[in-house]
């Protein structure tokens, strides 16, 4: 079993994540809880570690159905982008975010996020 497939999924009201090996993750719902990092940073870190452990060149992250997040949740994506940007060449990979251009937070936040790690983040906007 791949490391990505073994990542434990978070349990949250209004939010769910699904992992489809070998290299796809989907987020669905809303993240607007007080401190999303407290319950989700471990999950995001596990995703990052598993991608490097599996030696993937790219992971697809489908956020099209993540309809709203607060700014504390955006921090989770900033952290992930930072980890990828700072990864050694042997552990580097690309995050391909699938976004919905009709959803305002996705249209604005992911373009700015890409500026943090232009070589490591690709935005597919539908």
């Amino acid at each position: 079993m791949s490391a990505l497939a073994a990542v434990g999924l978070p349990r949250l009201d209004n939010f769910s994540a699904q992992i489809t090996p070998p290299a796809t993750v989907q987020f669905v719902g809303v993240i607007a809880i007080p401190d999303p990092g407290r319950v989700l940073s471990t999950f995001f870190a596990a995703l990052h570690r598993s991608v490097t452990s599996d030696g993937l060149a790219e992971i697809s992250v489908d956020v099209r159905h993540l309809t709203f997040v607060n700014s504390s949740a955006i921090r989770l994506f900033v952290d992930w982008a930072t980890w990828v940007r700072n990864a050694s060449p042997a552990e580097s990979y690309v995050i391909r975010f699938r976004t919905d251009r009709r959803i305002t937070w996705q249209r604005t936040s992911f373009s700015v996020l890409q500026s943090l790690a232009p070589k490591a983040i690709i935005i597919d906007s539908e």
Partner: protein, 167 residues
């Protein structure tokens, strides 16, 4: 009399459309935010306005709840007003005085940059300070919400945060 604590003069009040008061606890934020989004969606026909308002409501309500003074009788008021050309969303809460000072400084700092540059700078700061609070919310309201912010002190230790955006 109000005491404006940001660098810009207070705005003239627009006609009030909606006022909601509730205890400043996190559990009510989702409901009030979604009510405000729905209200804007059904009242104004401008594409995207409801989503812009949703961002502003989430971030201002979060701030008001996080920094409300520990007062069992505390109240958080949200008002949505419009003069037909602009939309005003304001929150009034009994806030920690230190929060007022920090908020004023942060808003004044943000105004030195255009909204996109300010959000890029906020993302970069968050990336460089992984253990520090993200502080992305105010920058997000300006860029994503296309609202400008103002903070003022009102009688009784209350703080009003007003966000103004074009319809």
């Amino acid at each position: 009399m109000n005491s404006t604590t940001s660098s810009k003069p207070p705005r003239a009040p627009a006609p009030l459309l909606v006022s909601v008061s509730f205890r400043p606890v996190w559990a009510y934020i989702d409901g009030v935010r979604e009510f405000g989004r729905f209200f804007c969606e059904t009242t104004f026909k401008q594409p995207g306005l409801a989503e812009r308002a949703q961002v502003v409501l989430q971030e201002t309500l979060e701030n008001a709840v996080k920094y409300s003074a520990p007062d069992v009788d505390g109240k958080l008021e949200v008002e949505i007003s419009s003069d037909g050309s602009e939309l005003q969303i304001s929150t009034l809460s009994h806030a920690d005085p230190e929060h007022l000072k920090n908020l004023r400084e942060e808003i004044d700092n943000l105004r030195r940059f255009d909204p996109e540059a300010a959000l890029i700078a906020a993302f970069a700061r968050a990336a460089h300070e992984p253990e520090a609070p993200a502080r992305l919310g105010l920058a997000r309201m300006r860029y994503e919400g296309q609202f400008e912010l103002q903070v003022s002190e009102e009688p009784g230790g209350n703080v009003r945060v007003t966000a103004v955006g074009k319809l």
